[in-house]
Symmetry: C2
Subunit: 122 residues, 2 copies
């Protein structure tokens, strides 16, 4: 059902099913979507390596897929997952651990990892 671009890819956003935090963004091709759906474990397509890739195949930090959402024009996916460990290869929960701050990258607030904004808790 999803539609792939000229390179046979679509954008996939991985979101923690519990916290709502965006954990990572990657690309999927038709094979990655099929593998994800048949196994229930998140698979992607690596543009740099030119091949199918199961998240956690080396680290063990696989992601169990709870739900796959498709956008209006069917060229992007949100994958709601329960991760077995950190999403990022650097060992942090989410790959999005820095924010743009002027001309530098600054760490995000520690409450970021809850996936929620909070004006009161710091």
């Amino acid at each position: 059902m999803p539609k792939y671009d000229a390179n046979g890819l679509l954008s996939a956003v991985v979101q923690d099913a519990q916290s709502g935090e965006v954990l990572m963004v990657a690309f999927m091709n038709e094979e990655a979507v099929a593998a994800t759906r048949s196994t229930g474990i998140a698979h992607f397509y690596s543009r740099s390596r030119g091949k199918l890739w199961m998240k956690g195949e080396t680290s063990g930090n696989t992601m169990q897929v709870e739900e796959l959402l498709v956008d209006c024009d069917q060229d992007a996916i949100v994958m709601k997952v329960t991760p077995k460990g950190p999403a990022c290869h650097t060992g942090v929960v989410s790959c999005f651990y820095r924010r743009m701050d002027g001309d530098r990258l600054a760490p995000v607030d520690s409450n970021q990892s809850s996936g929620q904004k909070s004006g009161t808790e710091k």
Copy 2:
């Protein structure tokens, strides 16, 4: 600071700053990132139209940018926004209003629009 691919693009995930719901996914080029940062309003690059595009330029449903997060390899952005209206051109809050269910697309649960999973509230 962000890194762009061979086509000069990166993936941008738009997330509601309050609810954490993923509203849309689009592409940005360097010009879109610069316009977003200078105006505080979300801009993207339209691959189909081949040009810079301010979200809401026709609908009025602009998005005020609260925070821009960059991932570990700096080729994807999460944009936390306060939207002025529905993100989707179909008039719904999020473009991700359908989930894959077997070989069809089904509406997501109504509690989806809160951006949170809830086992108790239905």
